[in-house]
């Protein structure tokens, strides 16, 4: 049986323990991320999402409980944390603010260089990483990152993470602040990476994106796992998601309202599914079969 890539067991994190400002950010989180999954972590601001993903690569140490990466306990005495950390490719929010080199190529090669790799290997990784994020190395390699669009800059930052050849890509709000075209390009990049076998953990506020991309959704609220399942399972409970302050994708909300109004329409998470479901239901009305 294959080991999960990431496993959290009864993970609790308390900030500023023992002070008047003490706050419990995570409370007994147990979860698994398996190879090839695309897991969306959703939750309102302050639910613990960012705290959680900072445990995946050992940036934060659990107050209690364990975090295992490919079976290795990150905080066990013998663990080489630096090595374990490399397996987790973490892309922070607004990562374009962290670009700093003069050219795209140099920015992406920064990580591999620090690994002490030989020049040809670095070269190969940079080419591959740029191709993976859909940026032509010839066209973009020698440009300054700061002349690129917001979406392109973000993909350069993602290439920098991929050049480290991580086992899992962890993305914190990857489309925040992008316009529709930048957003679509970035989502296509994530989908194609996942299609090539990359395991992805995606933190998002956008329910439509979670519904479209994720194979599984984990809902956090107040530091606990509140719900977990496929998008269809999670978004079936509109009431719970409304209470948490997340809501459901617009298409799901629409079919819910139609159903409550007496139109027997099937489930839908996207507008494509809603189109099909509504057309089928209304055909029924017109034919007089209802």
């Amino acid at each position: 049986m294959a080991e999960p890539l990431i496993a959290c067991n009864d993970l609790t994190h308390v900030y500023l323990r023992g002070t008047p400002m003490e706050s419990r950010a995570l409370e007994g989180i147990t979860l698994r991320v398996s190879r090839g999954e695309m897991v969306a972590v959703i939750g309102p601001t302050g639910s613990g999402k960012s705290t959680l993903i900072q445990h995946f690569n050992g940036l934060l140490r659990p107050t209690s409980g364990t975090v295992l990466v490919e079976g290795e306990d990150l905080w066990a005495p013998r663990t080489d944390r630096r090595k374990a950390r490399r397996r987790i490719g973490l892309l922070f929010q607004f990562p374009e603010y962290q670009l700093f080199e003069e050219t795209v190529r140099r920015d992406v090669s920064y990580g591999p260089k620090n690994l002490g790799l030989a020049e040809p290997e670095i070269e190969e990784r940079v080419e591959e990483a740029l191709a993976q994020v859909g940026l032509d190395p010839v066209r973009f390699g020698s440009r300054s990152p700061f002349t690129l669009s917001g979406g392109e800059m973000r993909r350069v930052a993602m290439a920098g993470v991929l050049a480290m050849r991580p086992s899992v890509l962890v993305l914190d709000e990857p489309t925040a602040g992008l316009d529709p075209r930048g957003r679509e390009d970035l989502l296509q990049t994530v989908l194609s990476l996942h299609g090539e076998g990359m395991t992805v953990v995606l933190v998002t506020h956008n329910m439509d994106e979670a519904a479209r991309l994720a194979t599984r959704i984990i809902v956090l609220e107040a530091g606990r796992v509140e719900m977990e399942g496929t998008p269809a399972e999670v978004f079936a409970d509109e009431e719970a998601l409304d209470r948490i302050g997340l809501g459901v994708p617009q298409a799901a909300r629409l079919v819910g309202m139609l159903r409550r109004g007496g139109i027997p329409v099937g489930d839908a998470l996207s507008i494509t599914e809603a189109r099909r479901a509504i057309a089928a239901a209304l055909r029924g009305w017109r034919d007089g079969t209802h």
């Binding site: 309102p44 669009s149 917001g150 316009d179 529709p180 629409l254 309202m257 809603a274 209304l282 009305w285």
Partner: protein, 288 residues
């Protein structure tokens, strides 16, 4: 005939003019905003929409062309404070806009700077907090509030200045769905209760579905100007652009293509659901 509240006339803006780094951000923009209008400004990253927003209360001045607020030219130094009082701005990042350690002090900051008497300040703060429904939080620390609550406090700080126009520049971009909904509800209530002129700048068309009128920018120019329905028609008939229809407007269009007579402005979940429910109610009666 009264003059428009805001006039933008052949506005050009170039950053770093006369240097090799010169960037033309606005390239000849003209439009008027009437008192009480709810205007949405849409554009992709780099379209010039934030540059334009900063011209509306003289945070930036035209390279050429003119911006007038209530007839006052933004380049007239003597008018600048009056212009900024009349046009209040809320920005993207709530954490950069709050200055005090207690909510009511933050809201009082503007009126205090106007040198108003304490009683008047108190009254304005009370009203502003009530308008954004944050009265129970008056003694809280702003940095401990949620993103949506912080933006409502930022709006209250502006309302306390008694502006005539509120400009929201990507004010919901950094918020979660609940925060986004809170700010939208606040804008809706302000429109209903005061009829205040509102200009909402966003890269997401679905933020603008309730506007009276939408102006779309691309590469520093106005490429569309019309009601949401008109603008969506244009976007739907062109392809590959930087703009996208809000999901429900797109679905309404598809359903029409499928022969379902979805008529009128069905751009939100609520309006589309209403339209579909009334259609089937009609069918039910028709059959009976």
């Amino acid at each position: 005939m009264s003059e428009p509240f805001l006039e933008v006339q052949d506005l050009h803006h170039t950053y770093n003019p006369d240097t090799p780094q010169a960037v033309v951000a606005l390239d000849g923009i003209s439009f008027d905003v009437e008192t009480g209008e709810y205007l949405g400004i849409i554009g992709g990253n780099g379209s010039g929409k934030s540059t334009l927003a900063k011209h509306l209360n003289a945070l930036l001045l035209p390279t050429s062309g003119a911006v007038r607020v209530g007839g006052m030219d933004t380049r007239d130094r003597a008018s600048i404070w009056e212009i900024r009082r009349r046009v209040g701005m809320v920005f993207q990042n709530p954490d950069n806009q709050l200055v005090a350690t207690v909510v009511e002090e933050d809201v009082a900051f503007g009126p205090e700077n106007l040198g108003l008497p304490p009683d008047t300040i108190r009254q304005r703060v009370d009203e502003a907090l009530a308008a954004v429904e944050m009265t129970p939080f008056r003694r809280h620390a702003p940095h401990l509030l949620s993103g949506g609550q912080k933006q409502r406090i930022a709006i209250a700080g502006i309302l306390a200045m008694r502006p005539e126009c509120l400009v929201l520049d990507e004010a919901t971009t950094m918020l979660d769905p609940a925060g986004r909904a809170e700010v939208q509800a606040t804008v809706r209530a302000l429109r209903r209760d005061t009829g205040m002129t509102v200009i909402l700048v966003s890269h997401a068309m679905e933020d603008l579905v309730e506007a009276d009128r939408i102006i779309a920018l691309d590469e520093g120019r106005v490429i569309m100007d019309g009601s949401p329905g008109e603008v969506f028609d244009i976007i739907a008939s062109s392809s590959g652009g930087r703009l996208d229809l809000p999901p429900m407007a797109k679905l309404a269009r598809w359903l029409r293509e499928d022969g379902i007579p979805v008529e009128g402005e069905a751009h939100t979940v609520e309006s589309l659901a209403r339209t579909l429910l009334s259609l089937t109610a009609g069918a039910r009666r028709g059959r009976g």
